[in-house]
Amino acid sequence: MQDPPSAAELVRAVAAFLRDEALPALEGRTAYLARVSANTLEIVARELESAPAADAAERARLLALLGRDATDRASLLELNAELCRRIEMGDIDADTPGLLAHLWSTTLAALAVDQPGYSGYRRALDEAPPERLLPPGP
């Protein structure tokens, strides 16, 4: 176990320096990239804090969706790759119980890290996961 401060705290300290002290002293493209850098470090800090719980929840949902044992050791990447293959084959689709709720939760968890201010995310936070998709047209 590392001593405090936590990795997230360290990263947030650097982000604050970039935004509050470096940025006002810069201009043009360098200022723009300093802002992007601060935003990027904030993504890292949020991920450090939320990833363990978010990954565990995603993993549990994937194992259930794919009909695998809860003790399965496959990586998240492998599980996602299998889900993709089965969606592509049509073996799992929007009518498969749990799929839409899983994708909804996984996507919201990603946005909570990547872009918590994104308009589509703010809207989705107030909505229930979709129960079905629009049927094919007339």
Binding site: S37, D114, A124
Partner: protein, 330 residues
Amino acid sequence: MVDIEALAGIVRDFEPSVEGIEGLRRLTGGASQETWSFDVLRRDAPALGLVLRRTPGGAAAADSRKVSLLDEARLLGLAARAGVPVPEVLAVLPPGGALGDGYLMSRVEGETIPRRILREPRFARARAGLARQCGEILARLHAIPREEVPALRVAPAAIELEDYVRRHRSYGWPKPVFELAVRWLRERAPAGETQPVLVHGDFRSGNLMIDENGVAAVLDWELAHLGDPMEDLGWICVNSWRFGEDHNPVGGFGRREDLFAGYEAAGGMRVDPERVRYWQVLGTLKWGVMCAGMLAVFRSGEDRSVERAAIGRRASEAAIDLLRLMAGRD
């Protein structure tokens, strides 16, 4: 760097009173294409603002989806004659010259930064008419006779979709929402392909130069191709181009009804809103794949900027928009 003497020589052909060139600065550019802005000092006349677009080594565009700069110059000429506001092409660079391949155009004054256009009071009047004006501009663009258009990529919906499916797969990163969207789009391919027309391919906030009166110029023609005219109408409705003003589906500034009314009033085909919505979903998938593609460019070493790296994380915004769109929310 740009060879100033060679540049002055090109300018002198159409502007004999040139006395010097100053303020040369690079606006954008990846490894292969560059855009430069500069001012031409003239005898007895105010300075003239120009823009140079070029591939320094005369190299062909690295991405086969992109229009060559010579074709881009031709398209700007065609668009201008059709009544689409565009910068005026003033010179095409001689092949094999010191500056590479490319062209010079007038520098149109205005604002391209979407957040300013969408929020600053000085653009309030422009914003009010913008959706309709975009419809009118697209109708004029789509009416350009195909026989006048250079031989560009032909990409109706199915080809465009499969092209992006291939690109997505090539990145090797599993994205279940994108897989679901691919199936959704394949099952709903629009019936009765229309005759392919010249489409801009990237008609959205950020690529429109706006002044107090509205659209001053349509920029960034490198993704132009022959396709379904509804593609351009759907693309400008993609949520990422609303820049937070998501209650205004057209670019964050207007209503679909006004976009469609402007399109039909200026001679465009009857708009099928469902077909536009299909293109909006496909456009959202394309944006998500493009974000992932930025990561590939970063990892290849071609562009190691933090900006390029960070855009990879925007694929999740396309994912939530896809889920909401496929469920009929928007």
